[in-house]
Symmetry: C2
Subunit: 415 residues, 2 copies
Amino acid sequence: MGCPLASQTLNPVDRKNHALEQIAQTLEQNIAPILAANQTDLEQARTDGLPLPLINRLKLDEAKVRSMITGVRSVAALGEPVGVRQLHRELDTDLILERITVPLGVLGVIFEARPDAVTQIAALAIKSGNGAILKGGKEALHSCEVLVNLIQTALNNTAVSPATIELVTTRAEVLELLRLERDIDLIIPRGSNDFVRFIQANTKIPVLGHADGLCHLFIDESADLDMAVKVTIDSKTQYPAACNAIETLLVHSAIAPEFLALVLPQLADKKVEVRGCASTLELFPGLKVATEEDWQTEYCDLILAIKIVATLEEAIDHINTYGSKHTEAIVTNNPTNADRFRQRVDAAGVYHNCSTRFADGFRYGFGAEVGISTQKMPPRGPVGLEGLVTYRYYLSGRGQTVAEYTIKSFTHRDL
Amino acid sequence: MGCPLASQTLNPVDRKNHALEQIAQTLEQNIAPILAANQTDLEQARTDGLPLPLINRLKLDEAKVRSMITGVRSVAALGEPVGVRQLHRELDTDLILERITVPLGVLGVIFEARPDAVTQIAALAIKSGNGAILKGGKEALHSCEVLVNLIQTALNNTAVSPATIELVTTRAEVLELLRLERDIDLIIPRGSNDFVRFIQANTKIPVLGHADGLCHLFIDESADLDMAVKVTIDSKTQYPAACNAIETLLVHSAIAPEFLALVLPQLADKKVEVRGCASTLELFPGLKVATEEDWQTEYCDLILAIKIVATLEEAIDHINTYGSKHTEAIVTNNPTNADRFRQRVDAAGVYHNCSTRFADGFRYGFGAEVGISTQKMPPRGPVGLEGLVTYRYYLSGRGQTVAEYTIKSFTHRDL
């Protein structure tokens, strides 16, 4: 039940969590209309002959909606990202500097198909104190509309304004959104690599996301080969469409015959198509040949390129040439080589003796993942709620002027 | 004296500081050639009829060079920005996540006139483990060349490669530099607002800097008027060309007659040209009139626009409409109003009862200022060495796969 008067007496953190709970309850009470609207979208999608993977991502059922509701409640349970004091310093007596986290402002969220993105992004936006403008694909129009209407209805009974979450439904508006540099502070795209690349190329607004996930695994000469096989299979096959799955396996020549003899049958069991470099084909002539294009390709599929390298350095150079700075891993029992790999490989995640598939906000313990960034500047890698806040410096005094400090010193004492 | 063998035995932090000390000593031993090269530039600048402020910024003398050398040593004395562990978490037994700061990579530094930027940026780049490509204006060519040559000579005797610092001297290369998205990780511009705006508009590389510094000071109805006068004079006149000087003074109508009667004579003493809104002119008919254009103008000069507002909200709205999100201040003895100003004004710095001129990395105690950013995303406001590093996530395991965690839980225990 909405309880607007009671909500006004809550502190700001509890008000946001109250709003999220209202959304969860309103969604729970309206599962039937959500599924009905989704059914309308699905029928249209089938009439339009949309590809099956897109239809699968579009499709909601009761279990999916309940997991969306659980998602909203789990965002409410996260630590409060706003109002965190990151610095507290006396510049001089009664001249106190603080750096405090504040919401970014307005998020522009552009996504394909998946209506579950609506509740997830709305929850993250509310928890971080931001507004959100949502632009879904037209294939999910009815699903998105019913979800946003329910969210706004739920917010009517809370201290969070229903205007916090807005849906943009007409067709031509993506490019318009991307031009709103003064109104939108961060673009969050949810979709294919090409979709993200298009958005990055067409806006001056910061974009939280990555177009490419071209990850490598290097099996060093001193690797535990059983571990290497296990990590290879997981990194390639546990979810091949994920951005943190590997595309190229680099293998040290000293262990290549033995290791490949172990791993190739297991890859074949998992229906992985293997493409090898010239040296790989000398050892295993039956394989397809990998070309320059393979080193540059994110397959998002059960395909793996294999390259045999003569040294650790050759592996590192290959990664720094072709990698997308997402996640790169080495399997080795040689700590010096592991350290050298860590030092020299430039990526958001550099792993040792574990699967690349761990690159994920939930697995890192962030509670939520807003996106994975492959840019160099922070935030980088899996980004949780901290990616949706910025900070202000607050300085409070009793009339101090800078002119005084031409003769006087600052104390610069952290409090 | 250079001591290459000894430097190899130092730890990485000491190696960088040793390199900075070598630079300081080499510059100390070569003050005469530095001044001679600068003299060549100055003569050319006078021949070319360059404006006096540019010539002043170009000019070096022994005191200036000695202060540049002190600057290099003070960067060496700063805390180490690289290798800082920002997160240390057990995801599960023997699966350890760390987030460690690393250098950004390569800084592209583009500056006008000031040859002192060379030593400052070179020192900051070395301390943060980055390479730097420096592009100075042609008016400072000889000065920059001698400085970079001395820096490279000094680095010959250290563990830091002389190739770390490179100077680009030909004319047409600014636009080329701005296109090197794959090679340059951050652009740092040093120059006029128009110069920074040009750079921001012509690159996809992140730019650390701000084109505008349109700051306001609001004198609330409950202000201590003597304090308000003092803060106004400092914010406007202590260094009017600075980005953190105010351009517009907002005055609550309840105290406008009394306050303006106090402050106007002091502004006149400091040769400040005042331009008033209609209400200001009703009270003081002799003043120039401020137009819409004045609210949008960063004078960088002894000119001040004054606007009388009826409420705190009107002041906040004016600031959020015209401000450049740099630094905004209120003078008030009403804590509720101060708090409301803090909550609602969106700027990198929001100040209460002190001069806007405190917005500066040195005054904040950062030891160095790489730039001031007015973007919303971090880093924001005055940026110290932390703006020149990013981080990597390192994950280290003993062969764990993600598939195991479909049935197993993470521990997510901070270490």
